[in-house]
Symmetry: C2
């Protein structure tokens, strides 16, 4: 086990509280349950405050009060049973009874990934409700579920990218224990669990980080405002806060990997790059544990550096999403797609996606008003994840339409073959395997009225710029969320069953045909027939 620096730790019947606040003079630990009591914490040399409470353990609830003023939840909270504004709760990770001792993880190139939004995957919208469906997924050939972010977010309806506590598990989904139960059950079913994590910003509601320390910097601008402070004054604590996070999920939750959101908006001008630190910490943890752990980047850079190792100047990710593959393929399947992806539409681009990887490797891209990308020729296919749709492509359409609503049945089957028989690691979006046709909308459940107005207006504006001809649904309305739920039972019959069988057959073919398990890009030839 790697020495844990960030967050609360249970040590037998004592609890060690730790919080980083380098510019504060004093810090109070305010216990709220099982009893109300306040304790003055002890400041350490490196900007951390610590306090060890005897006769304490799981379930104890608390706030921190910097300089004796207002009290706020723990920035490294592991559980927020009453939401983003409520007290933090102590979690004892030694209490869970794991039954996955034989689980050693799966090689990345073997994965068939299934992106899943906990809230809309089942009627209950909980971790627990997923468990009975694992068997069916495994039978389909799926061996990895990738959960959209499950960190505590405001209310109980959110894609997860508004999460504010990267160490906490969302209360409405079932909290820490239920996530562990899901991982435990998944491993027993031969399924890996990957978690979507957001290090590029922290959600707007319940974000009390500024009350503790300089987590943000003015040096760089992101779509969400100020960037995370990874290289400015006091950045050491921020770097520790985020760089210890992957190991936390690996060790405490037995996770098999993370998907890192929009890493192109994570800026670090340090001599030792943040991702190199993460890479080294994970390597140490992997050596101790023996289980594999995969780091998947969402990157808008089209840069081969993302998946290269730090030894040759790379960021060290296991793999990255290959958006260009989606764009190239989708626009060929749906002619309407040209409106949205104006730089795609040539069959040769899909060929390039197969043989090279990045389609834009230095060409001028109209959408970006500049040249974009560098070549990924020769980089192994195991370094890229491909998909026909994910939450973004579906949910960022005004109608939230999946591919199944946009192209005919035969084209959907073709699309499935395009990714399943590719030299890349394929990913499905929940329900895609049986041609689910429920929409997937953007939804939130904020409590701050001003923020709700901002989100609704921002959403309208975003769609205007994309020239859609209708108005988006109100993301705050519960119905928008409810309509996004998939209907699992569909797959039992009719066209849904045919599509499900088709996916199963393709996955079987992929798993059993050695030619389809060759990820060496130098062996891939693609030829245009009857253009």
């Amino acid at each position: 086990m790697i020495m844990q620096k960030i967050g609360v730790q249970c040590l037998g019947n004592r609890v060690k509280f730790t919080v980083w606040a380098p510019e504060k003079e004093r810090m109070q630990l305010q216990l709220t349950s099982p009893r109300k009591q306040a304790f003055e914490m002890i400041k350490q040399e490196d900007g951390y405050f610590e306090f060890v409470l005897d006769e304490a353990g799981a379930g104890f609830q608390y706030f921190f009060s910097p300089n004796g003023n207002n009290r706020f939840p723990d920035p490294a909270s592991q559980y927020q049973p009453e939401g983003v504004h409520g007290a933090s709760e102590v979690v004892d990770h030694s209490a869970f009874r794991w039954e996955d001792q034989d689980w050693k993880g799966l090689p990345f190139e073997d994965l068939i990934i299934y992106e899943l939004h906990v809230g809309t995957f089942t009627p209950e919208g909980t971790f627990e409700a997923i468990i009975p469906r694992l068997e069916k997924l495994a039978a389909t050939g799926i061996n990895a579920i990738e959960l959209m972010p499950v960190n505590e977010f405001p209310g109980n309806r959110n894609w997860g990218y508004d999460g504010v506590y990267p160490y906490a598990v969302h209360s409405a989904y079932g909290g820490p224990d239920k996530l562990k139960s899901l991982v435990n059950a998944a491993h027993k079913a031969g399924i890996a669990v990957i978690l979507d994590m957001v290090y590029n910003h922290l959600g707007p509601e319940g974000n009390y980080f500024g009350e503790f320390g300089p987590y943000f910097t003015d040096s760089y601008k992101t779509p969400w405002g100020r960037a995370i402070n990874l290289d400015g004054e006091y950045s050491d604590g921020v770097r520790e806060y985020f760089s210890e996070n992957p190991v936390f999920w690996y060790e405490k939750y037995h996770l098999d990997g993370l998907r890192l959101d929009a890493i192109h908006t994570i800026y670090d001008n340090s001599a030792k790059h943040f991702w190199e630190v993460v890479y080294q910490k994970l390597n140490r943890a992997r050596q101790q544990n023996g289980r594999s752990f995969h780091m998947i980047a969402e990157s808008d850079l089209n840069s081969p550096h993302v998946v290269k190792s730090p030894e040759v100047g790379g960021l060290g990710f296991t793999a990255q999403w290959l958006d260009d593959f989606h764009h190239a393929s989708y626009v060929l399947l749906d002619n309407q797609g040209r409106k949205r992806y104006e730089d795609f539409g040539q069959t040769s681009q899909l060929l390039k996606a197969y043989t090279d990887g990045f389609v834009h490797s230095g060409e001028y891209v109209k959408f970006r008003k500049r040249r974009h990308g560098a070549s990924s020729v020769g980089i192994s296919g195991t370094k890229f994840v491909v998909f026909n749709q994910n939450h973004d492509q579906i949910g960022n359409r005004v109608g939230g339409e999946r591919l199944s609503m946009l192209v005919d049945f035969e084209r959907q089957k073709l699309a499935a073959a395009v990714i399943m028989l590719s030299p890349y690691v394929p990913m499905l979006f929940m329900g895609e395997e049986y041609g689910e046709d429920a929409p997937f909308f953007y939804f939130v459940s904020h409590s701050d009225e001003e923020l709700i107005q901002l989100v609704v207006e921002g959403r309208k504006k975003e769609f205007e710029s994309f020239d859609w001809d209708s108005e988006p649904l109100n993301p705050q309305q519960e119905d928008t969320f409810n309509r996004s739920k998939i209907v699992w039972e569909k797959q039992a019959g009719g066209k849904y069953k045919i599509m499900h069988d088709w996916h199963k057959a393709l996955i079987t073919l992929r798993k059993t045909n050695p030619a389809l398990r060759n990820f060496d890009k130098n062996d891939i030839r693609a030829t245009l027939v009857n253009e």
Copy 2:
């Protein structure tokens, strides 16, 4: 010769005008001399406007008028005979009679660099006035002069970092032809010429770049405001504007290298980094020309990536200034230095500077309130330039004192030995070789009253934060500039002659002793005697 895209070109008795303005509809070329005449330029596909004028050549003066509104100097002007606000003038580079055909440049590791400010090096403050002094410099053993920036700046007194035309040669120094004469004479004297260039910002006065295109971005913040736009919309033209600049100086002015100012404030999140583009363009030019060309970075990152090649994720610089060496050495020589360099003062740090390079290689640095740097162990000594003082350390003291005013004569001699016998490339600041004791102040000659006030106040504030006990001189006053001039004749006698002889002897020793020409860091041992 590399195809030139940026700026005016003379083609026989025709002149081709080119200007980049991607968002403008129209562009007018307004000739002001030898006659007044306006021409509508022709817009190209990639955001450039072009116009070829017949029967034209060197000396023609002009402005550009975007969208038919106000007129402005050419952003890629090669000569501003009437200053930053005046008309641009056509330069015919084929007209100069070069006599340096035999000059092949010097290997970087052989250089003894001499930093020089044109305006204060001689009473005249011109390129021409430097020429008679080259012989003396060569006799001392100096074989490279590094000119502080000579791009057109406001007025006639400036360190040069307020320059706004990176393709122009400052008028008050003598303009393009006189710089060529200096380079020509230097090469005949066996002296290389390096130019200090600023790509991290453009000066505040005479900065009309925004009238032409999006040269700046809001994505990153620098000490001078918005950063240069190297990765946002329309960045292709900005990247071309700056990346072609080194080759321009290499080919048109026969320069031997550039020193790049504060590269840590030049941000580029592209898949192909700006410096990789520069590296490739320079390599092509070097292959064609056969002469060497050195790129020296000023970097505040303590990152070994700066001097590594792009093939292993580096920025590809020939070398970088080793500030840590200065700090480690200076603080040992002058106890007062501890006030300014609170993280230095241990003899072991100078040892580390000798054996490793960077002194801060990941340690916590109080001044920066964070850990800083990465190790440079094993990186060849040829990758670093060391010095006992440069314009910054002297000019950013409230009294503008050189080392000669701060420590006694024997310590000055020791300091000289510390760099001249080091496994690094040494650099002197003009006059240092004879122990010049004139101050070197910060000076400007802006014409904008508001700006002058800002500079004067900013300067005061900067010094307050450094806790100096006196007020800085007014940078705008001519006397501040005049007092910064060196007195060349001093070196003929007294203590100055002794110091000059000492430098000469050290340089001779360095050049003749094979052990002192070994830059392999693995061979360097440093031992502390009687700490």
